[in-house]
């Protein structure tokens, strides 16, 4: 099919009939491989999760997994704690990342992206290794084993900070600087300019950053194991153990569905990645 299209296209080209030719070759076809890939390895797996979540071990339809989830105060508390940790992590990440991104975006030289690189580069050293080292540092300060929630949040922030810095930085450097100048010209002082102009304009970056931090931090059980001494319950850990030691894929899938629902709610809240919100971590590299 594709080759015949090409043949026809070539013929037409030879005949210098560009119009027909354009009609036959659609650039949108380029997305077909990725579309298939997405269908097979992103969307289909999610449907499979739905299937497992609504079946029991023998394959019969059931709501029991969800009933079991919502009737267990441990599971629900676990979920709420995870949401709490994710909220705190996102907020702390934002508090640190925003000033960093802001300062970097004000750098005049081309060197600012080198600083950005400095924030991402640690990811080249395996996280599990860095986590063990950070654990030693917490131990040095006498925090380990005493402040499990705080330690978990520190670990999460350490892991996810780059994901917050990059989108904010990208939005800030893209921002039209003349708006700020205009604000200053109109008599707005630094704070007014920042809160009335800069901050509102960088909201898309904040939103993408928050989305990249929020859900992953609900599931990153490596961190609670290392920093919280496994004393901090995390929904991700529960899912992992359902697929691992408990060997209960159906219950695990039901838990995954709960996380998916949260994902869709956050998408709804933030409007997903629409329009200019497609600022990325990558742009800054």
């Amino acid at each position: 099919m594709a080759s015949s299209v090409k043949a026809v296209a070539r013929e037409n080209y030879a005949g210098n009939e560009k119009k027909t030719f354009r009609a036959l070759f659609k650039r949108s076809y380029l997305a077909i491989p990725y579309g298939l890939f997405l269908a097979l390895f992103v969307v289909f797996p999610l449907f499979l999760i739905v299937y497992y979540a609504f079946t029991d071990k023998s394959g019969g339809f059931t709501f029991n997994n969800f009933v079991a989830f919502f009737s267990s105060s441990t599971y629900v508390s676990n979920l709420l704690i995870s949401i709490g940790i994710a909220c705190v992590t996102t907020a702390v990440c934002l508090l640190i990342a925003y000033p960093v991104a802001y300062i970097l975006s004000r750098f005049k030289s081309a060197r600012s992206y080198i600083f950005v690189l400095l924030f991402i580069a640690p990811m080249w050293i395996n996280f599990v290794l860095r986590a063990y080292a950070l654990r030693e540092i917490l131990n040095l300060f006498g925090l380990l084993g005493k402040t499990n929630f705080l330690n978990t949040v520190i670990g999460m922030v350490y892991d996810f900070l780059p994901f917050m810095i990059l989108p904010i930085y990208t939005t800030l450097i893209k921002m039209d600087k003349s708006l700020e100048e205009a604000s200053a010209d109109l008599g707005g002082n630094g704070a007014v300019t920042f809160f009335k102009v800069t901050l509102p304009l960088s909201v898309p970056g904040i939103v993408s950053g928050a989305m990249m931090v929020f859900l992953p931090s609900m599931s990153c059980y490596v961190i609670t194991d290392t920093f919280g001494n496994s004393k901090v319950p995390l929904i991700g850990k529960l899912i992992e153990s359902m697929f691992g030691t408990n060997a209960n894929w159906n219950m695990g899938s039901a838990l995954a569905i709960v996380m998916l629902i949260i994902m869709f709610i956050t998408m709804l809240l933030t409007g997903g990645f629409k329009g200019e919100k497609e600022t990325t971590r990558g742009n800054a590299l």
């Binding site: 290794l129 609900m218 990645f273 497609e278």
Partner: protein
């Protein structure tokens, strides 16, 4: 002035926090104690092991090759996807874009288990292919996200102009569009590489049993014993840090030159 000092101070503080664990790893890479925090006297044993023990070398090669392969496949798939999506009808743009973004914000554990469920239906479950697909699945959306903004920044008439001037669509794409979005593609590639290098959860759910990446080895070596190769990774951390420093210095020098050129040009114009 005060502001500048504050800004630099804050930046330095955050960077220091980010790099503190790495400095710890580097310090303890110069002793052969099994446990970080214990000092058995200065020794280069870990570096020796890093470069001589075959198992370690295999793991490092595995991790890097996997990351390169995954990043390459993701880049091709993602760039084509972004191009196609960008030129699609609105409805398709929405559907594909939405599907693509799922893995960006989804919890890693959910991606991992959903893939594990799918792979368990196929013969290539827990082979190199399932591992690669797993990595591609969570790297590609980031490539798409890097490329799309560049497409939006591009002048849409460029492609049409190329066609009007007699270029074939392929030529127009490769010679005109591709160079325009190349920075986005490169950024996407680097991002995919970084993500793949750092991943543990998805790898552990999709990898073949005879295959270990650095993360899975470090995390799974539960029964790690006196002869474990774990400490040698501290030396690896030091080596990677050195590479980072070199890259940063080179970029810095290049940026310095660029700056000079730019100021020079500005003067000329004046």
């Amino acid at each position: 002035m005060m502001k500048k000092v504050l800004a630099y101070g804050f930046l330095t503080l955050v960077l220091l926090c980010v790099y503190a664990p790495i400095f710890i790893l580097i310090i303890f890479s110069f002793t052969d104690a099994n446990i970080v925090g214990q000092w058995h006297g200065f020794s280069l044993e870990l570096y020796k092991r890093l470069f001589t023990v075959e198992r370690l070398r295999n793991m490092i090669v595995n991790t890097v090759v996997l990351a390169l392969l995954a990043a390459a496949v993701s880049t091709v798939l993602g760039t084509l996807g972004a191009l196609g999506m960008f030129y699609s009808k609105k409805i398709w743009k929405k559907v594909l874009g939405g599907a693509s973004n799922i893995n960006v914000i989804n919890a890693e554990i959910v991606i991992a288990v959903s893939l594990a469920l799918v792979f368990s239906m196929f013969a290539f479950n827990k082979t190199y292919y399932s591992l690669l697909i797993g990595h591609v699945a969570f790297c590609t959306p980031f490539v798409v996200l890097s490329v799309i903004p560049k497409l939006k920044q591009m002048d849409p008439s460029l492609y049409e102009a190329a066609l009007d001037l007699g270029a074939t669509p392929r030529k127009a794409l490769f010679r005109v569009v591709l160079p325009e979005i190349l920075p986005g593609i490169v950024a996407g590639f680097m991002l995919a590489l970084t993500l793949s290098l750092d991943d543990y959860i998805i790898t552990s759910f999709t990898k073949p049993a005879e295959f270990d990446t650095i993360s899975t080895y470090v995390y799974n070596a539960v029964k790690n014993t006196a002869k474990s190769e774990l400490p040698a990774f501290r030396a690896l951390a030091a080596v990677i840090f050195l590479i980072i420093v070199i890259v940063v210095v080179i970029l810095n020098v290049r940026a310095g030159k660029k700056n000079k050129n730019e100021t020079f040009m500005k003067k000329e114009i004046k």
